[in-house]
């Protein structure tokens, strides 16, 4: 009989080496215990409010709205969180949980470096050791974040295997976890990997839509017509969608990184170009060849440059509850610049994928419609890379 634990429809599961099974079972038991523990919740709420700066603003982007001439656009400002992205929501939860479990060391993977910085930050705050695995390619395009992690007292291990990007950083973090489990918690940064990670990370990120739903009801007296977020593994997107899933009239739109286009091989748009597979602990959609070899994906955004998608997103796609649309590098860079000039907000290049899609659909929607776009992170880290994309060399 198949164990249905940790399944979202047919997706999810626990496809990991036997060596890690007791570790994920222990994690699941600890999480089940602490998620209903008032002391744990009080401590976490306190950290989120007084350290991370929650609740984050739901900002009415009036100038953007008027410029596009269609639906009213609100921005959920996760970029204003401490450390500059939504990643801190999950990391504070997991780090606190790990500490309760008696772990003294955190390991993490990172793509753009946002999750690595958040993990390094929590480790510094809670007095834990921290090692971050980052594809060597990404350490180059996100040099500033590498320095931030080191400044925060973490060790950064450049990963040279495979394509030297996010998927290889995940593989290396998993390898490291199998070699050292007793004192180490793998602080996974997205809604992916083996059960219970997709559930734990989603629960910690669901604060985004919990706040956004209350805020929009307060400001507009009604729910939005669409919620838009970028999707790599999908943690800010599931966080943005979660409390709207039962509101059937709210369109949920995930923006995948199409790189140079979904008709090229240089893409990371998993739902649009991938197929069902088993990798990194889960069954879901993956970019892969006919023999199941994982594809070397590409996106300008190091944070979305991943060949898979979280199992809950795969399920929301299957049942038609959420739509997943491709956004190219060019469109994202245009949006990055457009939002900067229009609203004075520099979004992360990841978040710019969501902005780009809002720019496409808002003008076609009536002025009485409402869109919420999640700005998952701030774009300072991307300035050098975008300058290069535009043919300008700057020194950080």
């Amino acid at each position: 009989m198949t164990n249905q634990k940790g399944r979202f429809g047919i997706h999810g599961g626990q496809y990991i080496p036997e060596t890690l099974m007791n570790a994920v079972i222990e994690l699941e038991q600890a999480y089940e215990h602490y998620k209903n523990d008032p002391d744990f919740q009080r401590e976490l709420s306190d950290l989120l409010a007084n350290y991370a700066g929650r609740p984050s603003l739901l900002y009415y982007a009036e100038k953007l709205t008027n410029t596009l001439g269609g639906a009213k656009i609100y921005l959920k400002r996760e970029d204003l969180n401490h450390t500059g992205s939504h990643k801190i929501n999950n990391v504070l939860g997991q780090a606190l949980l790990a500490k309760k479990m008696g772990k003294t060391r955190l390991i993490a993977e990172t793509g753009a470096g946002q999750h690595g910085v958040a993990t390094a930050t929590a480790a510094a705050l809670l007095g834990m050791e921290c090692v971050v695995f980052m594809g060597e390619e990404d350490t180059k395009r996100q040099a500033l974040n590498v320095y931030r992690m080191k400044l925060l007292g973490s060790k950064v291990v450049p990963v040279t295997s495979g394509t030297a990007t996010l998927k290889d950083a995940v593989s290396e973090a998993m390898r490291e976890w199998t070699s050292r489990i007793d004192d180490t918690h793998y602080c996974l940064g997205s809604v992916m990997g083996p059960h219970p990670f997709p559930t734990i990370v989603r629960d910690f990120q669901a604060v985004i839509s919990k706040e956004a739903r209350e805020q929009i009801l307060e400001y507009e007296g009604r729910l939005p017509d669409a919620v838009i977020a970028c999707v790599g593994g999908g943690s800010n997107a599931i966080g943005s969608f979660y409390n709207f899933i039962n509101d059937k009239d709210v369109r949920l739109i995930g923006c995948e990184a199409a790189g140079r286009g979904i008709d090229t091989f240089e893409t990371a748009a998993t739902v649009n170009t991938g197929r069902l597979g088993i990798f990194h602990g889960m069954k879901s959609y993956f970019c892969q060849d006919e023999y199941g070899q994982i594809a070397p994906v590409y996106s300008i955004s190091a944070g979305l440059d991943y060949p898979g998608i979280g199992p809950e997103h795969a399920h929301l796609h299957d049942i038609g509850r959420a739509e997943y649309v491709p956004v190219t590098d060019d469109e994202a860079v245009d949006a990055f610049e457009f939002l900067s000039r229009t609203e004075g907000i520099i979004p992360a290049i990841e978040s710019a994928h969501a902005v780009a899609h809002a720019m496409k659909i808002a003008p076609e929607m009536g002025k009485d419609k409402i869109i919420i776009v999640t700005i998952s992170g701030r774009g300072d880290k991307d300035c050098a890379a975008i300058a290069r994309y535009r043919g300008e060399d700057i020194y950080e």
Partner: protein, 256 residues
């Protein structure tokens, strides 16, 4: 008796591993024949995967060399079919769940049966997920091998009771790779396994020397060696068959 049980029937078994297509299938064929001629009791054939998360750097390197040489699952099936004309040693595939899943479980496993593959080892398929492939494996008489790790603890009995073929005991924490010392109490693991099943168990991960093999065979029914062999293939390339054959002969002798 299944062919895998036969591999353990003549005393302690020596089980060498090789990645198919590293550096090419012709070389793999020569090496497998040398392994068989020098006393290998069961041969583990790796089907390369782009992202082998249970492997250390040595076998990761073999996977990359094999894939960049253009090897595919279909080419490996054709290769094994040819090999089976003159090699009768029991053989199992070692690969990752996605390689089987993406090919189609039934198509993959029925092909194994047809070309003479006796079992499959999938390091990313734990007990909880084995039903993904187990019913098809049992239907076609291809043993789905169970792994037991140093961290398995209270899970050993559950896994052992339902195991087919042989049990693969992971000697150490971490990924595959040569280790100077194995600190896990293998005899304690085997004791719990024995209370729950009578199928053979073999120890792998980290073993490279005849002394380590002799030590492990005091507790287990067989010894698996991967990285130490793959390292020789990385060194000697297309001329590996001789040195690997000699190595297999020495390791097998240490088990007698």
């Amino acid at each position: 008796m299944s062919k895998i049980r036969e591999a353990f029937a003549g005393g302690k078994a020596f089980i060498p591993f090789i990645t198919c297509g590293d550096p090419d299938l012709e070389t793999t064929g020569r090496i497998v024949r040398e392994m068989a001629a020098n006393g290998a009791d069961l041969i583990e054939l790796g089907i390369p995967f782009s992202d082998p998360t249970a492997e250390g750097p040595v076998i990761q390197g073999a996977n990359i060399r094999a894939l960049s040489g253009g090897v595919t699952t279909d080419r490996i099936f054709a290769f094994v079919e040819e090999l089976r004309k003159d090699v009768s040693t029991p053989m199992v595939f070692m690969t990752y769940a996605n390689v089987v899943y993406s090919y189609g479980a039934e198509k993959f496993i029925s092909t194994c049966r047809r070309i003479g593959i006796d079992g499959i080892i999938l390091p990313d398929l734990p007990f909880e997920e084995k039903d993904e492939f187990l019913p098809v494996c049992r239907e076609y008489g291809v043993d789905l091998i169970s792994l037991i790790a140093p961290t398995s603890a209270d899970r050993i009995a559950m896994i052992a009771k339902e195991a087919d073929g042989f049990i693969y005991i992971v000697s150490s924490l971490g990924v595959t790779g040569v280790r100077s010392k194995i600190t896990t109490d293998i005899s304690a693991l085997v004791k719990v396994i024995r209370e729950n099943t009578d199928i053979p168990c073999a120890v792998g991960f980290g073993i490279s020397t005849p002394e380590q093999a002799a030590e492990m065979s005091r507790y287990a029914d067989g010894v698996i060696v991967g990285s130490a062999i793959v390292r020789q293939i990385a060194e000697y390339g297309r001329d590996s068959a001789g040195p690997v054959g000699e190595y297999v002969r020495k390791m097998k002798a240490a088990l007698k």
